[in-house]
Symmetry: C2
Subunit: 236 residues, 2 copies
Amino acid sequence: MEPGRGDRAVVLLSGGIDSSTTLAVAVNDGFETYALSFDYGQRHRCELDAATSVAKLLGAKRHLVLAFDLTRIGGSALTAELEVPKDRTPGEIGAGVPVTYVPARNTIFLSFALAWAESLGAFDVFIGANAVDYSGYPDCRPEFIEAFEEMAALATRCGVGGHRVRIKAPLIDMSKAEIIRLGARLGVDYSLTRSCYDPTAEGLACGSCDSCLLRKKGFAESGIEDPTGYSNSRGP
Amino acid sequence: MEPGRGDRAVVLLSGGIDSSTTLAVAVNDGFETYALSFDYGQRHRCELDAATSVAKLLGAKRHLVLAFDLTRIGGSALTAELEVPKDRTPGEIGAGVPVTYVPARNTIFLSFALAWAESLGAFDVFIGANAVDYSGYPDCRPEFIEAFEEMAALATRCGVGGHRVRIKAPLIDMSKAEIIRLGARLGVDYSLTRSCYDPTAEGLACGSCDSCLLRKKGFAESGIEDPTGYSNSRGP
């Protein structure tokens, strides 16, 4: 069954480049979109304000922020008292799983998206996972996305009824520059988005964590001006 | 790699018969157990006190209660303002997915268990899923458990390292009576456990929801006395 225009889709929205672009793709595909964000104890909570702005800009039908505390589970620099690595080289980023990996995060996020999809009668879940310009997280790879979809077909009432929820990762094979060019074409205002893992108290991007470095590289290669204010590049 | 005595295991613990028995099985297998419960907006929150008592009785190393609000997602009589069905016949229970099904609940629960396992360095997750005397929930079937384990191997850092987290459902093929006899042998005090979906304000079991009916039938068939106080069977 192919989706018709106006069908519902749940879109995971962190407020960064990838998820914001993914929301724009879902809207452009004709879906009525239900954006889902998580307040999970991340150090970079300002991404939630970004998600709210992006959901509004792109016309999401609803934006739901679910809260749970992953700091109680630990195991990551994003939620525990570990240092966020800075100024790593492109060769270091993506080689091995870094300390900013949050255990099973995308599994948890997709599980809630699946639940909401089933409750809404939606058969499409979008995630901005990307396995090109990424941090080497295992749960961003296409084989993970496919395995989640297989599992989801067995997990749900709609699966039992033969309606399979599709897990769509439209950016999975794209470079960050390609993603930025696509989003710009679809009306994403990247000045609203936030990528930094370790922002200042004022919400300024650090400019040197993996996520900032991937963002900078993506803008540089896209030919589109980076609207981000970085705390480490304020000139004299 | 087979687990040795003293290895860590995460055990999902709702505080009912099946999860309490599963915790006893994990302890008996020699694991250091980490019990995980969820305060998700269920009407039967008193099960959390039961879980705490059971975790203490059986010597869980830790008992973590994570909170998130599934009422915001809806779609179930257990979290939304729908009526819990009462006095259904054994033929009705298990035929089709009932309104007490919570969308993707076991997927969500197992996702958090997987995250905690990865953070703890545990390679075993126990769940009290049962597909015999059960309510017909899709996410209690063995094919779901297997699919989740497949997905988990791709989702995690330890999976990338070749260490697969096993999802163990030791009760999956047992009748409720067999489960009760097993738990009694392993030291579970079922007077501490709670099964009812729709308890009274005082925490007394209703005696007529599917979960109470399955519990009553299980005790009757086990030959072990049911220690539960039911609100609808208090004599004159």
